[in-house]
Subunit: 337 residues, 4 copies
């Protein structure tokens, strides 16, 4: 149920509407604006009838929430959500670029890369400690040692860290070491994991499954939101199609589509999206032009020797050039970098 209050509704009236909903078994979110207060009531609270609510003082209108992703829907939260990570804000005017290696491989390498991307203007460091790999025989990540390296390099550079969590049991450990938890594409519908990060206090970067519709992505976000964590950032990272020249196909129109359907921030990962170093920069530009709130980009100091995803990792100087090229695009769409 979405309840729009009149512009003259008093604080007491708002409190009464809220209390009424809670008594009826709903959980409630308040969304305030200069000119309007909106109460979103979630759940199956019993015989809460719209007609009754409409009769409460201060209520302008009340309607059921039509999207199946109730908390993620822009209906129930018309303003953009901004996810704060310390002083960093994802979803605001300033674009956010997360950069770093696919996997954390060594302390020296990570430090080197972190310094380079920091200098070039990245605002977060990415790097996998726990790597979900198609083959059990591929490098699976440095695990806790990788987390330790990420923390050391964060201390050194000040860059907040985003890293993947692959198992509900790891959520606590990764939360202690990282500023943001990443849910990988293969785990987008790992509901046990979604519930676990939903119970965490860390913001979550939720990658779209390579086989998932926009609606399924929003339903996955809803799992996190409905388990208590409101800080979710969505990430388009390419879907599977018949085209074989690229690793995946970036669905560029999902960016404005999501911005219409949800209040959550949306970023794009052109590295996984294309799988080709030479296509990362133009697709990064396209993402910003289409309205993305940021980018996630793989950078490696020696891509040829990378233990994973070498062919799609940029050299540090290429990342620097990419950042330079983005500034004018950002400004053309009213954003800063």
């Amino acid at each position: 149920m979405i309840i729009f209050l009149t512009s003259t509704a008093t604080t007491a009236q708002i409190a009464e509407v809220t209390a009424y909903c809670e008594r009826a078994g709903y959980s409630v979110r308040l969304s305030k604006d200069a000119d309007q207060t909106v109460v979103s009531a979630f759940g199956d609270g019993g015989p809460l009838i719209a007609a009754e609510i409409r009769r409460l003082p201060g209520v302008e209108r009340a309607a059921p929430i039509s999207a199946p992703y109730k908390r993620a829907s822009r209906e129930t939260h018309p303003k953009d959500t901004v996810v704060d990570i310390g002083p960093l804000r994802i979803g605001g005017r300033q674009l956010v670029v997360m950069a770093g290696p696919c996997a954390v491989e060594s302390l020296e390498g990570l430090r080197e890369i972190a310094r380079a991307v920091h200098a070039a203007g990245a605002s977060m460091l990415r790097g996998g400690a726990f790597k979900p790999r198609t083959s059990p025989y591929s490098f699976q990540g440095l695990a806790d040692v990788g987390l330790e390296y990420l923390q050391q390099v964060r201390a050194l550079t000040g860059l907040p860290v985003v890293t993947e969590v692959t198992h509900p049991e790891l959520v606590e450990r990764v939360s202690a070491a990282a500023d943001m938890l990443q849910i990988g594409a293969r785990n987008m519908q790992n509901f046990a994991l979604l519930q676990a990060v939903g119970a965490s206090r860390r913001p979550v970067l939720l990658k779209r499954g390579m086989m998932s519709t926009a609606e399924e992505l929003l339903m996955a976000a809803e799992y996190i939101l409905s388990h208590g964590n409101p800080r979710v950032v969505l990430c388009e990272r390419g879907i599977r199609t018949f085209e074989t020249a690229t690793r995946n196909t970036v669905d560029i129109s999902v960016v404005p589509l999501l911005k219409r359907l949800t209040h959550l921030p949306v970023v794009v990962d052109p590295s996984h999206g294309t799988g080709r170093r030479d296509l990362v920069e133009p697709v990064a530009r396209a993402a910003i032009a289409a309205g993305a709130d940021g980018l996630m980009i793989e950078v490696h100091d020696h891509p040829d020797r990378a233990l994973s995803d070498g062919p799609q990792s940029l050299h540090p100087h290429q990342f620097e050039a990419l950042m330079d090229g983005l500034r004018d695009i950002a400004s053309a769409v009213g954003r800063t970098l």
Copy 2:
């Protein structure tokens, strides 16, 4: 490394080859036949050189394993694997049909359905206690109560039970209650879960992801096999395509393709594969004709009232008709039902 021994190799020679590989750090699997013994050596054991092995007495030839899924590959295990579940054998001449509701909803309903599918010739009971649902607001299954119902109905009918496990922590509980653990399509690349069922002693039904290639399915099986569980059955359940008249598109050619690439049994789920009750029977027939070792089929006593997947669930009398129609097809491909 696959090592083919000569037909005259002695037991002592075989033991020597095995010991040689193990000293070099490999884990070893022996596969014996009337006329040939094959030693498969897995792992990165160090300086084990094919040339040296070829010089050992009794060795005919030695070659690296070419498939990336080493244990799952038919190269290393030319004969069909048969997975035993008590007296039931999956992958042998006799076809196996797993039938039951999408989700366990009530004890009475489950009992009713189990009796009907048993009478019609099903050899296993399916039914979900833990349901991975796209929406957090959909029915998520009866959980432990559902497991309890499955056990009661198994006791009543004697049908072994297959049910889904969605979380590494649940593996033990579900293993206690069920005869076979199902990994759902959305979890095919949930590597933490694959490792957990790999450490279990229960056989595993591994469903192909809806956007996974045959090779990725085999790599997922490899995770289970390489963690110690050799009893894996693969399941084709439809992939995502642009076609909207059906819920998914059954990839029928993956059945013979998998039978060539791997020694593991392969079953087909035409219920999820089509999403339409009226297409289940013809696709079930096609699956058997293409060489599948069995079927997984959703049956419900009141499909219209089913809490999930009603439109694709057969009425018990339709399931009976399906079984009757399958017998001649089975016999045409040298199988029994």
Copy 3:
């Protein structure tokens, strides 16, 4: 408008209903049965109101045609259409197998292959004289010489011939030489070509586009039917998906789906559908088990030297084995081979 007449409707009453529709500007098709006569009225004939028709004597009920493919829909023609090619009947109890090389390459080769497939039980000869090739530099077919060879080999073996037509201007020439005109997958929505074969008196084999929905296939058939040619056979030949182990993915469920939606016969081409010789036989079996009315299969006497599609062409002895293996499947679904 579909008009169902009462079982006691007289010939005069039927004639009156027909005349009424025609006066209103509709074109009419009559479909008679032991127990029911159905009048299908097509077109935008003006103010023809169902209510008026329902009042005519002998009319039981009248309803608009709901499918967008009006002539192709089973609504307007509940009985299976059987397409006759001389004594050969496609869509009846007897299955039809069309076999031969991808392209006509030489008279001797074609004769050799035709004899072999004839001896093995094929009832039609396939072979391309005009080849639509992705590259302008690939072999484009022998053109008129190829047609000439097809005619000679038909005279020799008595096998009716199906061959592809790629250009509206060629329809007449190909019709003179062949018994059935094939529309290739790439031309399924070449509407100029569909209209041209719609005006021909030859039956048409219409292949599904590799990225076309079932409904689009039926709309393409509707182009042919509505231009005057009622003899259309549909062919599933695999669609494009992300899977790379096969050339295409055979959509097996489209066979029963089409049989429900339309009265037109449906055949399957497992050669293009899989692109792999070793998968042709199991998929052929699956197609028959799923209810297909026949098969189209590529056979070549020297697949390694074939100018096109060698890897998916069967050796003659493999085709013979395939035919042998099909007989029991056919009988299991109430068909003969």
Copy 4:
């Protein structure tokens, strides 16, 4: 064969190399630069051995052309091709926007729309006279009357016209009336039509099939180029995927991919690409940011009454806003609008 001449090669030496290739049966294209002359030799000219050519005076190196699309490949033509339409240049620094209705419906409507898009900065008028429609019962276009209207409105506004040709026989008539011939997505592999426009002197806009790979698009272009028409512009218009929220999925990375593989200009059609009016502008911005040379956009004065594609057509004021928003993006990537 690509032959790179030395920087000091004389005109006589270049002529000799060219003559040598032609005598050997090749057709030749010369590509000159400030610092390098490149001779591309196409065809199967017989025993033309690279070694021999390398010995000719003035030759620096000679290598076979590796891409299967020889004329379309950037290997054989390193500089961007610019397609001239009168004073208009497609592929240069200035972006080209083609705008207009899906179909020509009336003279008044077309005039209205043309004036509006002209005023907003469009440089070409689009509008279909021959419409390939999925259903034979849908509006098929005004045909010759539509061509006549296009000519009248061109005379009035001065905007050059691009319109679709659907049949080889129509090429001459459409060429007389239009400045550019469009090959629609459904006809991308209609090779008879490609050959016909290859023989025309009009530039061609070649749309990517909704099921075609980038390589197949380039092979289709090669058909046109190899039949004598060098003026081809490629158009990405969305491909088919499992996503149902949009009509198609724009493959944004194909823009930079094509720019690397070929010298031909590339434009994007976000109207068909998304099928949704509200997504056209952001995807248009993304296309320019990704490096596209222009756009094709559907505009209608009364989208709600449009006979085709209404939901994806912009209102004239929306098109004006789109053009305004593009200018800064264009400038950010070094282009003008």
